[in-house]
């Protein structure tokens, strides 16, 4: 990047050096000088509408708006002179004329920017005696309400919806003092229901259907933790009162997602307190599931697992892990399977080929991994497959940011006309794997027209350097190899991000919930690796090749006699007939809700959800973050505890060792020491930061392959989250939840 010119200026008698082109309001912020603002919002287009940020600039004839004023060398700015203070007072006085001043009943009371500013900069009394413009509150959707008189017309909501979300569902109606924000369908909204507009509203004009009139900000505690849904790992701050989550947002901008959350992150927390939650263990007796105590249930599971192992051998047991449990839990489950039970039949629903990417990159992996934060700084982005706007909303948000604020060029190859194409420099509609083959080696089954389009894309992208590549489950195994071959031909450091489905999809893979891999992609076939983990786990590890998920399910009742399922719903995801699972001698399921799979289970163990436990998640980009427990649900146990108790029971029956670690932190410590790529710094994690992990798979990439159909995405939308979907009342309450993917995408 070209060396940026530095300039010097003075604000309130303090000298400062900043890059040329910086806005005065940002310079002031750097110096810790607050310049009040309503309409200014970093990352969105400039408005200069609210006039709150007026400052005095020497030699300028009148006050200037700091939010649009570009700092120039030698400029002298004053932010706290009497004319400036008076201007602020006057603006607030104007602003309050048509404001209802109903702070005591307003949702925003206590965290309202207008309230704060009036307190800090305003006049004490109003001279306004005329009639205020009045308008009743409007319900725009189940999730978005609008109270027009409180609106100060800062246009933040309009911009976030247009520029930020590329939805354009909000506009301005009428003119002058009658101007009002209007929704796109006359009296209601049809949009992505992200709630960004609510969050960004500085006052209580836009309020959330989940939160309104429930409580006051100072009555809640705040817990910042990664979102429980997709693989992007947004930090959400849960607002909790009386063991109840009342709201989720990220106003403290604490995560790499900064202010961003999609509908699921913002409104999809209510499953936690859904009445259908499993709250006590269930044990099948004479054909029917009956409530049981934890002691009973765990004893039954242990005894029957032991019996089955004794009778059929360890290979008769299969373990299916979860995309939503923590790394620590996945790590323990891996140990549970391979060390305690002695089987390599371990897998999970793989939604992206993380192992394939690690294999293709080899030693390059640590350098070539694209972090979520880096995506928004990228200057050239190639998106292959997936529908980021709906499956990976933060990824799409970051891409839009890069295009809008960084001038990034966006290249897309997709079989579908995905929504991001609207921001693309170049969009090629083609089968992703074929296109990759073509780019890598000139082969591929493509029409002449598509070839030509790809050629153009290639010509352009070869002019770029440091290309950021994100790709979906359409590419796996060899196709990722093709991708990386192509990426290596590009200028600079090409970086990659594979897009999976769920909150810890990446972690499940990294922690070795794959038949052939131990944690950190060390091969089971590698004696040294087996030896190391065996020593750590107090057992010699089996070398017998494990079955993958589909094979285990196919063999249910045949080779596989017992299936241990954690946080997964194979009946639905893998479309196995429930009767088939019913043929198992033992089906144990750890779950938070009844599912198609728990329905046929012999034992169901009620688990804690992501918002009820500690641990870590790795997002799809390899950003490791800590979970913070927000609430407790009596009766349930974390998957971590369940596995610990069970291992303990099995040890008593002479199978395996009890797990010494009592807390997730202790397991994290073990992971940091023994799982390749996870030797991260703890301090940052504990402070709520994200740490990059970069497992390396050194083996010959050609040796890596996965069967067709082993990796597939559930293609969730903004309003679905796998088996959790039906328990997301708020998210499901909106009309848009009933639109098909095509309808959503084509909505204007």
């Amino acid at each position: 990047m070209a060396e940026q010119k530095q300039i010097r200026l003075k604000i309130d008698d303090r000298e400062v050096t900043v890059p040329a082109g910086t806005l005065v309001i940002e310079v002031a912020k750097r110096l810790g000088i607050e310049v009040p603002s309503f309409c200014y919002y970093p990352g969105l287009s400039l408005q200069a509408a609210c006039r709150m940020c007026l400052v005095e600039v020497e030699k300028a004839p009148k006050l200037q708006t700091a939010c649009t004023l570009v700092a120039v060398d030698g400029m002298v700015v004053h932010t706290n002179t009497e004319p400036v203070r008076k201007a602020r007072r006057d603006m607030l006085e104007f602003l309050l004329t048509n404001h209802p001043l109903d702070c005591p009943v307003c949702d925003k009371g206590g965290e309202c920017e207008l309230q704060d500013m009036t307190f800090r900069y305003g006049a004490d009394s109003s001279r306004f005696v005329e009639l205020k413009v009045h308008q009743p509150e409007e319900k725009w959707s189940e999730l978005v309400y609008f109270d027009m008189p409180r609106c100060i017309l800062c246009f933040r909501c309009v911009r976030i919806c247009d520029e930020g979300m590329d939805v354009k569902a909000l506009g301005v109606g009428s003119r002058g003092v009658y101007s009002a924000i209007i929704p796109n369908r006359g009296d209601h909204l049809e949009c992505e229901e992200c709630g960004m507009c609510i969050d960004i509203c500085p006052v209580g004009a836009l309020t959330s259907g989940t939160y309104r009139y429930k409580t006051r900000p100072w009555e809640m505690k705040y817990v910042a933790t990664p979102c429980a849904h997709c693989s992007n790992g947004c930090k959400t701050t849960l607002s909790v009162r009386n063991n109840q989550i009342l709201r989720a947002n990220n106003r403290d901008l604490s995560g790499f997602n900064r202010e961003f959350l999609c509908a699921k992150g913002r409104f999809g927390f209510d499953f936690v307190s859904h009445e259908a939650r499993l709250k006590f263990p269930l044990v099948r007796e004479n054909g029917a599931q009956k409530p049981a105590s934890w002691e009973q249930a765990v004893r039954i599971v242990a005894e029957r697992l032991k019996a089955i192992r004794d009778r059929y051998g360890p290979e008769a047991i299969g373990v299916l892990g979860s995309n939503r449990t923590t790394n620590e839990e996945n790590y323990l489950l891996n140990r549970f399977a391979r060390a305690t039970l002695g089987t390599n039949n371990v897998d999970h629903h793989r939604t992206a080929d993380y192992a394939g990417l690690a294999a293709a990159l080899g030693e390059e992996a640590p350098r070539a991994m694209l972090r979520m934060e880096e995506l928004r700084e990228a200057k050239a982005i190639l998106v292959i497959g997936n529908e980021p706007s709906y499956q990976n909303p933060l990824v799409a948000w970051q891409i839009r940011w890069a295009v809008r604020n960084g001038g990034a060029r966006l290249y897309i190859i997709n079989a579908q006309p995905i929504k991001l194409r609207r921001r693309a420099t170049c969009f090629v509609q083609a089968d992703e794997a074929e296109a990759l083959r073509h780019l890598a080696s000139g082969g591929g089954q493509l029409s002449a027209e598509t070839r030509h389009a790809l050629q153009e894309l290639e010509t352009e992208i070869r002019k770029e350097s440091d290309v950021a590549i994100v790709f979906g489950a359409e590419l796996y195994a060899k196709a990722i190899g093709d991708l990386v071959d192509f990426g290596r031909q590009l200028n600079g450091q090409t970086r990659y991000m594979a897009l999976g489905d769920y909150a810890n999809s990446r972690g499940a893979s990294d922690m070795g919930l794959l038949p052939e891999f131990l944690p950190g992609y060390e091969r089971v076939s590698d004696a040294a690796a087996r030896e190391r983990f065996g020593r750590l786990w107090g057992t010699e590890l089996s070398v017998v090749a494990g079955l993958d998920a589909r094979a285990m399910l196919n063999e249910a009742g045949e080779k596989i006699k017992a299936l241990y399922v954690v946080g997964s719903n194979p009946v639905k995801t893998f479309e196995v007939p429930a009767e088939k699972l019913a043929r198992l001698e033992l089906l144990v399921v750890q779950e938070i809700f009844p599912t198609e799979t728990t329905a046929v289970a012999d034992v169901v163990l009620p688990a804690a959800s992501a918002y009820e436990k500690e641990g870590t998640f790795t997002n799809t980009a390899g950003d490791l973050q800590m979970l913070r427990k927000a609430v407790d649900l009596p009766g349930v146990r974390s998957d971590f505890d369940i596995l610990r108790i069970l291992a303990h029971q099995l040890a008593r029956l002479g199978l395996g060792q009890p797990f010494a670690a009592r807390t997730p932190e202790e397991v994290l410590e073990e992971i940091r020491q023994h799982v390749r790529g996870y030797a991260v710094s703890l301090a940052n994690l504990l402070a709520g930061g994200a740490e990059p992990v970069h497992p390396v798979l050194e083996a010959d990439p050609k040796a890596y392959d996965v069967p067709v159909g082993a990796i597939f995405s559930s293609r969730d939308t903004l309003f679905s989250s796998g088996s959790l979907t039906r328990y997301l009342k708020m998210v499901r309450s909106v009309n848009e939840a009933r639109l098909s993917y095509e309808e959503l995408r084509n909505a204007k």
Binding site: C50, E130, L153, A169, R175, K748
Partner: protein
């Protein structure tokens, strides 16, 4: 959706005019409304579809423009102006009379759907005040009796009486002090045709210019001291010289024909009598800055004027004066009109460009200025109609000649629209720097032998002058020295019986109505002041209101996003300062001047 063939053709033609489809939005909406009476959901969806917009983008845009409506108006939509010039000559009487006759109020419709009524802001007929429009037709110098006849005829379903043939007061016997330069063809039969224009030096300046170097043209315009006639008085030649020469981007020339500043009605006759003069001026400007496309942004109410322009443009194309290789010079220039749809703010140059791009007329952040980043983000020269119409004379007779007509730094002549309490309201072309008191005499002196109280010297946004301040030269610099502005050259004369509180009230009403709503001080300030002044004038004033009116205006001044806030503040401040006693007299509960007009409820 199936549209009538004529509208279909019009849409197709519109889509060819602009490099970006969305630019066609406002004209499409207005033409569709002309056809169907209002904009139904179905029409909106259809237009959105054709322009690749979402419905919200269309609805929010149309919500901005006061001529566009979502519900049918009457067959005859009466739009009665009550703005200052009309108010001074009985505009409210006309409005009330109409209300009484039809039994309907502002924005209402008679049960039979024949008539609807709207109190409107200045329609650019101030020298024909009081004025009204029936649909697009102008009726000026109205009296209750003439209104009766008009309503009677319309009610009987008879063809309406012919509207005014042209801007009242534009054609009159010349006063000896007048220097007809740009108005010299006013009143000549068929002056708007190419034939007559050519008989009177038409397009000779263009021929000359095409033989000059672009820099030479700009130099000549600089020498002429021609300053912008839209209000700000910026030297035209200097503005042109800011347009970058070495750019790959297309460049544009825009004629600002939005003419909406109350009291101003001089661009209208310039276009209706002499459209080719404007076209020629734009061609020269285009050649000078290297632009190949021009737009005339004309206010929606001036439909008949737009039709005249369109005819003239067609004639010019046919004669090879527009299009490719003009007069064999190798220079290409395309030109078309673009209709607004009711928004004073769209006269502000950057809001105008937003509007021309098919959006709500919000002004833009400046810098960058249009000469660098204007229409479609490209370098753009925007000048007022009168400014551009003066260019042919400058080129033909030379900058020095033109400069010599006026005072130092204020070259040439101006078309002064003199309205209000004068005996002969009209449009007079006088040299820059002409004495204001003498100017009132040119217009026949103060009406009915009354004494002069005040003058609004340059449109309703300029600070008012007391009678004793009026002995001054009407040029940009002299007025600035007197604490006012030459603005758009609209001189509104107020006699001794005028209620200044009422004037302040009416002025604020206008700006509150026209505030685009973008920035807080103007949006809230004008609305607050409007309510206060309404209340005050109606007898509900409090003594603390008087300083407050001044103070709130002061609080807007210099702090708004665009100059509209200043435009609202400046006259108000001057009225409170100079006629404070009249406010105090109102506190006694009555208007000591003429009886308060009933406040017909426009908002």
């Amino acid at each position: 959706m199936e549209l009538p063939a004529q509208l279909e053709a019009r849409f197709a033609e519109l889509l060819r005019r602009y490099p970006r489809k969305r630019s066609a939005l406002v004209p499409m909406l207005l033409f569709a409304q002309d056809q169907f009476g209002y904009l139904s959901d179905a029409l909106i969806e259809e237009i959105a579809r054709r322009l690749d917009l979402n419905v919200l983008q269309v609805t929010e845009t149309l919500a901005y423009y006061s001529m566009l409506r979502r519900e049918p108006a009457g067959k005859y939509h009466l739009q009665i102006c009550t703005n200052v010039s009309c108010m001074l000559r009985g505009g409210y009487r006309i409005l009330e009379h109409c209300q009484r006759r039809l039994g309907i109020g502002h924005k209402q419709k008679t049960p039979d759907g024949r008539f609807s009524l709207e109190e409107v802001e200045c329609i650019g007929a101030c020298t024909g005040a009081p004025a009204l429009q029936v649909n697009y037709d102008y009726y000026e110098n109205m009296t209750p009796e003439r209104l009766d006849i008009l309503l009677e005829t319309l009610a009987q379903g008879a063809p309406p009486p012919p509207p005014v043939p042209h801007t009242s007061g534009a054609v009159h016997p010349r006063h000896p002090d007048e220097v007809p330069v740009i108005s010299r063809r006013f009143g000549i039969p068929d002056s708007r045709t190419l034939r007559v224009y050519r008989e009177h030096d038409g397009y000779r300046a263009l021929e000359k210019a095409l033989g000059m170097k672009p820099e030479e043209i700009i130099e000549e315009v600089k020498k002429s001291n021609l300053r912008g006639r839209g209000g700000a008085g910026f030297p035209a030649g200097v503005k042109w010289s800011f347009v970058p020469k070495d750019t790959d981007k297309p460049k544009y020339v825009i004629a600002n024909a939005d003419e909406s500043e109350p009291g101003t009605c001089k661009d209208r006759p310039l276009m209706e009598f002499d459209p080719h003069q404007l076209i020629e001026g734009m061609l020269i400007a285009g050649f000078a800055v290297g632009a190949h496309q021009g737009y005339i942004y004309i206010r929606g109410e001036y439909r008949y004027v737009m039709n005249i322009l369109d005819e003239a443009i067609a004639e010019a194309y046919a004669a090879g004066l527009l299009g490719k290789n003009i007069l064999g010079s190798g220079f290409d220039f395309d030109l078309c009109t673009h209709t607004g749809a009711g928004a004073y703010e769209c006269g502000e140059e950057s809001a105008l460009m937003e509007s021309l791009e098919g959006k709500r007329g919000y002004p833009r952040i400046r810098p960058p200025f249009p000469a660098l980043v204007g229409l479609y983000g490209c370098p753009t020269v925007i000048n007022n109609v009168e400014t551009l119409s003066s260019v042919p004379a400058v080129i033909l007779h030379g900058g020095e000649w033109y400069a010599s007509l006026g005072t130092p730094k204020n070259g040439g002549t101006r078309l002064f629209a003199i309205s209000g309490h004068v005996n002969r309201p009209g449009i007079y072309e006088l040299p820059m720097g002409y004495n204001l008191l003498k100017m009132i005499d040119v217009a026949g002196g103060v009406a009915n032998g009354k004494k002069l109280k005040a003058v609004i010297p340059g449109g309703s946004s300029t600070p008012l002058l007391k009678a004793e301040e009026c002995d001054l030269a009407m040029d940009f610099d002299s007025l600035a020295r007197a604490g006012s502005m030459l603005g758009s050259g609209a001189v509104i004369v107020l006699d001794e019986e005028t209620c200044m509180v009422d004037v302040a009230r009416r002025i604020m009403r206008f700006y509150a109505h026209e505030s685009c709503g973008w920035c807080i001080p103007c949006r809230e300030g004008t609305a607050w002041l409007r309510q206060m002044l309404d209340r005050f004038h109606a007898g509900g004033g409090r003594s603390e209101d008087i300083p407050l009116i001044g103070e709130l205006s002061q609080n807007m001044l210099g702090r708004t996003f665009c100059p509209l806030g200043d435009a609202a503040a400046m006259p108000t401040i001057s009225i409170v300062r100079k006629w404070r006693h009249e406010f105090e007299e109102h506190l006694k509960g009555r208007c000591p001047y003429k009886p308060a007009e009933v406040l017909a409820g426009a908002d």
